[in-house]
């Protein structure tokens, strides 16, 4: 194992991750092993292989925003994406996924530009009862990354 991997373990120990779990063995360092401790333990079958906006939505977004984008309410709430006027603003929507907002983490490490564009096009489309245009491109996401 390389020095880099060892340092990653230290970073993991330093972050929330160590507070939460013990390590599961993994063959190699994950693609998205960055400073964000949320993603350090990505298994080797990462989200790289998940390309469709519908799949990304089903795997990542649906847990909170719900399968049809209906949102959910408890002590706090997950905003509905179905019929969301905010989603109409493509640049705003990209910024939320790239940077996170409030309780929502940033997904810029987990997802690449194409995936973010794809999942937003899915959320802005008929599947969630929306009809927002234009279609977002990977280049739009690239510009929004800081």
């Amino acid at each position: 194992m390389s020095q880099r991997s060892i340092r990653r373990f230290s970073a993991l120990g330093a972050g929330v991750a160590a507070a939460l779990v013990t390590l599961a063995p993994s063959a190699k360092a994950p693609r998205a092993a960055s400073r964000n401790p949320l993603y350090i333990l990505l298994p080797e079958a990462s989200f790289e292989t998940v390309r469709g906006g519908d799949e990304v939505y089903a795997l990542i977004c649906a847990g909170c925003h719900q399968p049809r984008g209906e949102g959910a309410t408890g002590a706090g709430r997950y905003p509905a994406l179905a019929g969301s006027a905010k989603l109409a603003h493509g640049a705003y929507a990209i910024d939320i996924v790239v940077s996170g907002k409030g309780a929502m983490p940033s997904f810029k490490e987990l997802l690449d530009d194409e995936q973010i564009a794809a999942v937003l096009n899915y959320a802005r489309g008929v599947a969630l009862g929306n009809a927002f245009s234009p279609t977002l491109e990977a280049a739009d996401v690239r510009r929004a990354r800081h």
């Binding site: 230290s10 013990t22 350090i40 990542i60 309410t73 987990l110």
Partner: protein
């Protein structure tokens, strides 16, 4: 040192309960949230003589410090309801499940309030280490990986000491001592080789153990190949137990983690209003008012006035509440995303991990997306049913688990776990899955401060802001730990008390 490195320390800075003497009469403090931070705040403030009330969203105390038992009903966001089917006396802690020996504040409350503790086994040398990419997916014992990794490292170092530059690091006398130490530490033979031997089998176990009677003679075991430990990352399973957080001794409350919250609640008396959803926090120079929906009365909005507010509501929720505070505090509250984590409790009709596999407590690790199997640390050798932790995942697998139904999460945990314990399918009875992003009362497992957010906002989040002070694991460098919640609460009420005394003096001086 980077701030996040401090989180690694893990050891609590708790020394003793705060001395809040001299509280003025009739000062009202409202505590928001009856998790551990809220309960501890209320307990200490009440003891000091303040008039304390607590608002809690759930119908129970404890917050994330929570235990599920047979008959419990849990409805997550998305409206799926799980009825827990565990047998009598069995339980599962979906949140915190262990208390390091150095988490002094939590331990001190357990001591004071009579919460019985028992050992929590973190490292069990007979638990399993599994990788789908190692040894054809065959799990091995922790002791085998531990002994073999140590043995090979000792061998490599001992042999290298005769060579070139390494010689310069130690003088001749130390070199001899070091080689002797490595021989013993690594169970090496006379030629400094780690190999099949009585010494190595004494570490990693015998194929046929030592016995008594006419055929007591053992069969030695053969070490794994070094590359089988290195390439699939089996060595990583050895690291957690070396962190102070997971070093022996750890504890768990007898009967479930919620015993701590319940014990504090018993001391409080009838000052907690349950099913109260906070919707607004107002404050000015004279005091504070908190509006909440009374969920026992169809959400009717009620208001409570107080002189001060201790708010332990997770930032994931507070950031959505209409509250009066400085821009600095508001920015900090909005700067902390909440992590995904999933735990799944599984009930089996017998304790096959003990009966068949001789695993008594502790944790098995795997690269499968269940990551861990945690065995119960009590009722050893019991003849009845048992509940184990069938999955503890976070990161992207946890996002995936959160996106499927609870029933499906349990099904996956059983089918994946069966690759490690083939007894799963025939012995499984029922299970319950908690995906923390779907918990209506927290919207996540814990606050995930980035280094940048912490540098910019942490102090503002911790400061008393007018009539309001925040507490909880999110206001600590022990994130997600109960100790972090406790330390933050104790510090918040100590500073609040001091501020109240200063105000009282100021008023007295004016008159």
């Amino acid at each position: 040192m980077a701030m996040s490195s401090l989180g690694l320390a893990g050891e609590s800075n708790y020394r003793a309960a705060p001395d809040l003497s001299g509280a003025p009469q009739g000062v009202r403090v409202l505590v928001l949230g009856a998790g551990l931070a809220g309960l501890i705040s209320a307990y200490e403030l009440r003891r000091a003589g303040y008039q304390v009330e607590v608002l809690e969203y759930n119908s129970r105390v404890g917050g994330r410090s929570w235990t599920l038992r047979g008959g419990d009903v849990y409805t997550e966001l998305g409206n799926e309801t799980q009825k827990v089917g565990f047998g009598e006396g069995l339980y599962f802690n979906p949140g915190p499940w262990r208390i390091p020996y150095h988490h002094y504040a939590i331990l001190d409350y357990c001591r004071k309030l009579g919460v019985a503790l028992e050992p929590f086994v973190q490292v069990n040398h007979n638990a399993l280490v599994h990788s789908s990419k190692a040894l054809g997916g065959r799990p091995v014992r922790y002791r085998e990986v531990a002994a073999d990794f140590q043995g090979y490292v000792a061998e490599l170092l001992a042999k290298s000491l005769g060579q070139s530059k390494l010689d310069e690091a130690v003088d001749k006398e130390d070199k001899e001592i070091l080689i002797e130490a490595l021989r013993n530490w690594g169970a090496l033979d006379e030629d400094l080789r780690y190999s099949t031997s009585f010494a190595s089998s004494m570490r990693r176990g015998f194929d046929k153990p030592l016995g008594g009677g006419i055929d007591p003679f053992p069969t030695l075991s053969k070490p794994l190949a070094l590359e089988d430990i290195l390439r699939p990352g089996l060595w990583q399973s050895l690291l957690p137990g070396s962190l102070q957080l997971f070093q022996t001794t750890l504890f768990q409350p007898v009967g479930g983690m919620d015993q701590i919250a319940k014990a504090i609640y018993r001391e409080l008396g009838d000052i907690v209003r349950f099913d109260a959803k906070v919707v607004a926090i107002r404050q000015d120079e004279r005091g504070a008012r908190v509006a909440y929906e009374d969920l026992r009365a169809r959400g009717e909005v009620r208001e409570i006035a107080a002189d001060w507010v201790v708010c332990t509501i997770p930032l994931s929720i507070l950031s959505q509440i209409d509250f009066d505070a400085s821009d600095a505090l508001k920015a900090g509250v909005a700067a902390v995303p909440y992590g995904a984590a999933v735990k799944i409790g599984l009930q089996f009709r017998r304790r096959f991990w003990e009966e068949d596999d001789l695993i008594f407590g502790g944790v098995t690790t795997t690269d499968l997306p269940i990551h861990q199997i945690g065995y119960p640390n009590s009722e050893f050798l019991g003849r009845g049913k048992g509940v184990l932790l069938g999955a503890y995942v976070f990161g992207s697998p946890a996002l995936e688990y959160s996106s499927i139904s609870a029933v499906e999460r349990v099904r996956r945990a059983v089918s994946l776990g069966a690759r490690i314990h083939p007894q799963y399918p025939s012995e499984f009875e029922n299970g319950v899955a908690v995906a923390w992003h779907r918990a209506p009362f927290s919207l996540g497992c814990a606050g995930l401060w980035s280094d940048a957010a912490r540098a910019e906002h942490y102090k503002n989040v911790a400061e008393i802001d007018g009539r309001l002070v925040l507490a909880g694991e999110h206001v600590s460098l022990l994130p997600a730990w109960q100790e972090g919640a406790a330390l933050s609460a104790l510090d918040a009420v100590t500073r609040l008390h001091k501020r109240i005394l200063e105000k009282a003096e100021h008023v007295a001086a004016k008159h």
